[in-house]
């Protein structure tokens, strides 16, 4: 039987964990970028370009894009606040990096099984807006500034529905630990039938919808991509970034999409849990199942991204404050009542 050698020193464990998480971000970003940005979008929009390079299904396109970014000149505006400008992309990627720390991929495959995992994940994921604001301000560009300020306003509006949407899950599971939430779903039963456990999406449909909408806003994807707003702000806070720094933003964007998809898969779709599989086998199968669920959630996200036009900033605010937050509160109330009553 496969037995993972875990009785190594804590320093080695930490190093291994760090490397795994560090690799997850670019890997996740690349997978999403390749599958959805290049392939799904090409199919949806009848684009020919990304389907061509390299022969088979345009597999070379992503490599080519990456090489292009690396060889581009690294331009920094003369007026820019140099240190802040250079550090901003790193902040964005770091916030993504921190989310991956708590997401479980198996019974033992989790870097840090925090008791307040949900809380932690949502808190660190919003750090990225600091990076966005830094980039917007330090670029010394009016378009960047508008983009940065829009991002800040958007975060304040959407952090709340995001957190409130998750509260329903936390109430139902009775724990804030992500591992605990997965186990609660695995051990649950639908009307006494425990064949597939009990994914919370069944009772938290509203919560899932709210989470997806709010996550879309957090990721600044259409229909909520005002901070980037290609056709108005020409890229918003990223306007002055070139080459490798731009690539960092790109990785941050798709890495965060991967992280949010992983969160949604864990919170609502049962995470790594496979019915009837326990122990080490779950550690092997878990990541695969989780990955499949992540891809499904990411598909929904990118589908919306490529279909909808962009809302205006004030319309987004009124959507958040007038609709999403009240609905989320009602959802919590109903969940609470049912939790106590049933």
């Amino acid at each position: 039987m496969l037995e993972l050698a875990l009785d190594v020193g804590w320093g080695t464990t930490l190093a291994v964990k760090t490397i795994v998480v560090l690799m997850l971000i670019p890997a996740g970003a690349l997978i999403l970028g390749y599958t959805f940005l290049l392939k799904m979008m090409s199919h949806m929009q009848s684009r020919l370009g990304p389907m061509d390079p390299g022969g088979f299904h345009g597999w070379y396109q992503l490599v080519g894009d990456g090489l292009k970014f690396i060889q581009k000149e690294d331009i920094m505006p003369a007026e820019a606040d140099r240190r802040v400008f250079a550090f901003a992309p790193a902040v964005v990627v770091i916030s993504t990096f921190l989310v991956f720390v708590v997401i479980p991929a198996g019974p033992r495959l989790v870097v840090a099984p925090l008791d307040v995992g949900v809380f932690y994940a949502l808190a660190v994921s919003s750090l990225s807006v600091i990076g966005v604001l830094m980039a917007g301000w330090a670029s010394a560009n009016k378009y960047s500034l508008l983009g940065g300020l829009r991002a800040a306003a958007q975060l304040i509006a959407y952090e709340l529905p995001l957190v409130l949407a998750v509260v329903g899950v936390v109430v139902q599971a009775g724990t804030m630990s992500l591992q605990g939430i997965v186990e609660a779903q695995r051990d649950g039963a639908i009307f006494g039938w425990d064949g597939v456990g009990f994914p919370f999406v069944l009772t938290q449909v509203v919560g899932f919808g709210l989470f997806m909408v709010a996550a879309q806003a957090e990721l600044t994807q259409p229909p909520f991509d005002m901070p980037v707003a290609e056709s108005e702000l020409v890229g918003g806070y990223m306007v002055e970034y070139t080459g490798f720094r731009f690539l960092f933003f790109f990785i941050g964007e798709f890495g965060t999409a991967f992280a949010f998809a992983a969160l949604a898969a864990t919170l609502f779709l049962g995470g790594w849990a496979v019915p009837g599989v326990e122990g080490t086998a779950a550690d092997v199968l878990g990541p695969i199942v989780l990955f499949a669920k992540i891809m499904f959630v990411a598909f929904l996200m990118f589908w919306a991204r490529f279909t909808y036009p962009r809302l205006r900033e004030d319309q987004l605010q009124s959507l958040a404050w007038k609709w999403l937050i009240p609905i989320a509160l009602v959802n919590i109330l109903v969940t609470g009542i049912l939790k106590v009553a049933v």
Binding site: Q45, L146, S231, E232, F306, Q315
Partner: protein, 400 residues
């Protein structure tokens, strides 16, 4: 400083500007001359901005995200065509005016050639006129398909833009099959057309028109019926009918204000539009959504017109008898036609030589964007893009 649009002017009056006129006039030079006020920000939209379809520069004074004043700066693409026409012969000029509104080049040629023909007293044969009509409508369809897609892009949806480009390609292929040029056909001759239609073209066109009608349905469901799109465009950039007419706004932009005016029906008949059964579409609202809706309907109408015109195509030559060296007798003539972007006209003054003495080009976009300073005040930055997109101008058509 108020942020709402000013009230409508009285009859004959210009709109009242609430911004200090001196400040307003120098907006373009603000970056060099004027210190930034606290609170207001001057933003340069363009000349290198994706929403300006080329090189329109908009100097926008912003209070937060709200536009206090906007000033279009044009002329970045001035190519001096009016002057150039004075040193070219008549047949050479069609090459130039092809490039005024490069999306609907064929439609540009028609009024000029008609003006010259009228001065010379030549009548193009009926088949030539019908083919001209078909090709004009095809270029209208090509232009509007691009608009229907691009308008989605302006409000943030990428996918419709690609559909627009893809479907326009089918129509451009048809134009290429007849004229040999996708963008700049240069196909009109004084007295008719260069060639007849190629063999099998009628069937191809019928198929493509069915495709166009289909893709109009796609745009309707994908863009026009989209709740977010409606939210972004309804009651954004309302042009009141009288004001629009006062500014010289024409074409679909004016019909979207509820003015039932179409040169194809109401102007002098240079093309046999009266033989066809068709309808002038108007929309009472005058906002960005109305402009989108009207163009959507006109695309369908044009496709139906093409289908009808193909069925009633006359036989015969496509070229009248013309002298080998074209000299237009002394005289002046004004001809304007309904181009995709609006009223496009040429005032041709001839002194009896092989080239005109003077040509004044009235291009639609120039007048259409003249309303921008009035229209853009008090809106948000994203609405600026929506309005620019929905007015649908071509820079070559503004600057000439």
């Amino acid at each position: 400083m108020t942020t709402t649009n000013p009230t409508l002017p009285g009859p004959g009056g210009l709109p009242e500007f609430e911004v200090d006129p001196a400040l307003y006039r120098h907006l373009a030079d603000a970056q060099v001359n004027v210190e930034l006020d606290t609170g207001d920000m001057i933003l340069n939209l363009g000349p290198q901005h994706p929403a300006t379809h080329g090189t329109l520069r908009l100097v926008v004074r912003l209070d937060g995200e709200r536009v206090v004043a906007a000033d279009p700066v044009i002329g970045y693409m001035h190519r001096g065509y009016e002057k150039l026409t004075e040193v070219r012969t008549y047949p050479q000029i069609t090459t130039l005016i092809n490039r005024i509104d490069w999306l609907s080049s064929f439609a540009n040629e028609v009024p000029f050639v008609a003006a010259a023909e009228e001065l010379m007293g030549i009548e193009a044969p009926p088949r030539a006129l019908q083919i001209r009509l078909v090709l004009t409508e095809l270029s209208r369809i090509a232009t509007f398909l691009l608009f229907l897609g691009e308008m989605g892009l302006q409000v943030g949806a990428i996918t419709p833009a690609f559909y627009g480009f893809r479907d326009r390609e089918y129509v451009l292929n048809l134009i290429e099959a007849v004229t040999g040029g996708r963008f700049h056909p240069n196909f009109n001759r004084i007295g008719g057309l260069k060639d007849d239609l190629p063999w099998g073209w009628l069937n191809d066109t019928r198929h493509t028109m069915e495709k166009v009608l289909d893709s109009c349905d796609t745009f309707e469901t994908l863009v026009a019926d989209n709740p977010i799109f409606e939210k972004r465009t309804r009651s954004i950039g309302i042009i009141p009918a009288e004001l629009g007419a006062a500014y010289g706004v024409s074409g679909s932009n004016l019909r979207a204000c509820g003015v039932d005016w179409d040169l194809r029906r109401d102007g002098r008949a240079f093309l046999p539009y009266s033989d066809l059964e068709w309808k002038v579409w108007t929309h009472p609202d005058g906002d960005s959504f109305a402009r989108y809706w009207v163009r959507l309907q006109e695309t369908r109408e044009s496709a139906r017109m093409v289908l009808q015109a193909l069925d009633g195509l006359a036989s015969g030559p496509v070229m009248a008898k013309v002298p080998r060296i074209i000299k237009v007798p002394e005289g002046e003539n004004w001809v304007s036609c309904e181009n995709p972007l609006g009223e496009m006209g040429y005032y041709v003054v001839s002194k009896g030589a092989t080239g005109p003495f003077r040509v004044k080009i009235r291009s639609a976009s120039f007048s259409n964007v003249s309303i921008l300073p009035w229209l853009l005040r008090g809106v948000y930055v994203p609405d600026v893009i929506t309005i620019l997109g929905s007015l649908y101008f071509i820079l070559g058509d503004i600057d000439r």
